[in-house]
Amino acid sequence: MANTYNIGSSTGQISLEADIVSIGLAASVANITDLAGTDPDTQVAESTNATGNIDQQPIGDHTLLKGKRLSIQTKVTLLGDDAAARATQAPNVTGSYTLSGGDDGDKTYNNPVNTYQDPNVFLFFVVDLT
């Protein structure tokens, strides 16, 4: 089931915040994709330190975002020499993503896809902006 966020009639800025939960090193990039068109994707935000978090920030208004898909990809690298400990940590790596400024108000999503390739965990999250 696809995630959706209703921008609706709102003409203001839509904001994004991403919280990555992990004790590993993390970096995140957020992009906007026009699934129906051929325009190149637009990067709208990225993390600024190894938490992988994206601080709450405006990512554009309805003219840029409506009808597009927002994707957030995070690379998390788990620390230490103990492969078993890393394998235990991997499923606990997760993220929560909050959008605000649209008709849906503040809406938080907690369902990124978690892919583990030791020592890395990749989180991938998408939401359709309507």
Binding site: M1, A2, N3, D19, I20, V21, S22, I23, G24, L25, A26, A27, S28, V29, N31, T33, L35, D41, Q43, E46, S47, T48, N49, A50, T51, G52, N53, D55, R69, S71, Q73, K75, T77, L79, G80, D81, T88, P91, N92, T94, S96, V113, T115, Q117, P119, N120, F122, F124, V126
Partner: protein, 391 residues
Amino acid sequence: MKKFTLLFIAIIYGCTAWAQSGSASTATPTSTAISDLVVPVSPAFSITDITPTLVQNPGTPKAFALGIVESVSQSGSAFPNNYSAEFAPIWWIDPKGINVYSYLGLPVPKKNMPASTKENVFAGIKFTTVSIAFINKDLIPDTSSKTQSIFSIGIHTTLVKVYGADHAKKLAGLLDRWEKSALGELKSSHNDSLRRLMTRLDPSDTAYKTKIAALQKQYIEDQTPVNLQAINQLLAQKPYFAWDMSAALAEYGVNNQSVQTGRAGVWTSLSSNIPLGKDSTNYFNMNLLGRYLFDNFQQNAQGITGRANNIDIGGNLGFAFSKLSIAVESLYRFVNGQPNTENRTVGIISVKLTDKLYVNGTFGKDFAGPNKLISVFGINWGLGNEKVALP
């Protein structure tokens, strides 16, 4: 050839030492060594003398409850059957506050600001772990072999860990370097093309996660593995000072009617590691360890089972090099309030002959009676390539 000759000489010498010790004391002492006082990471398991092969790591209270319910359903009784779990409550209480900086005791850098390198020496407290075990085991040394339903719970924490400002500065710099490399990787043309493909997948497709995983496998790393290696090497360095503590309690269901406290214990250790030179991984170590153990069902030398309170206090100091460690350790035991009833003071030498072959020697005075000398020699085939380390 030289190594085999050395090994042969060591074995002959060791056998001689073993033989010399035979009449004066036990050749393989079963009494407490200082390594037994090391603060256990999972005290609930240590206090019940178990080493579970399967330990659950529930990330949420719900997962923990489900694990217990599943174990109860498998046991056929109201008591879980050999269930063990270990978790850090912080993951349940405030997962949003968890990140690599809080874990390593560094402040989170602010955007466009130089990284602060002020070390939080109490960072370990936040990651205190709880271990829990439900087991059916006979821990009462009597003629009956009937098992007890035992519940044990323990906590482990690092109260203080000090690496120093230089270590914190280097670590913060490496984290920053990794983060910039990772962003560059994510935005590289190859990896970005994978992301574009993933974005265009249908999330309602039942094979969505499989398809994401297949694309993600094609991800190409650049400099992050090199950065990670440097970070792991820095993290492998020992802290200047650390204070660890564990505590545990085991309750025995002796029969269907009564529950009694079987064992309780507290462990603590203060350790100091002074590097022998800048960035050296050779150390002068000093450790002070203490353990209190209460056992409601301990069998004494006369074979009588009763209550016992044991306090062990020990310490060691020595040098740890990459292929050699030399230390002196001393251990004092107080049984039921009687001071200095047993003690042990020994010298220990450990030599690494190859990556997988160690020779260990212990010489000195052991427990149980005056002038009990021990002279023990051993060879250890390891599976890794660790340094020779003190307990």
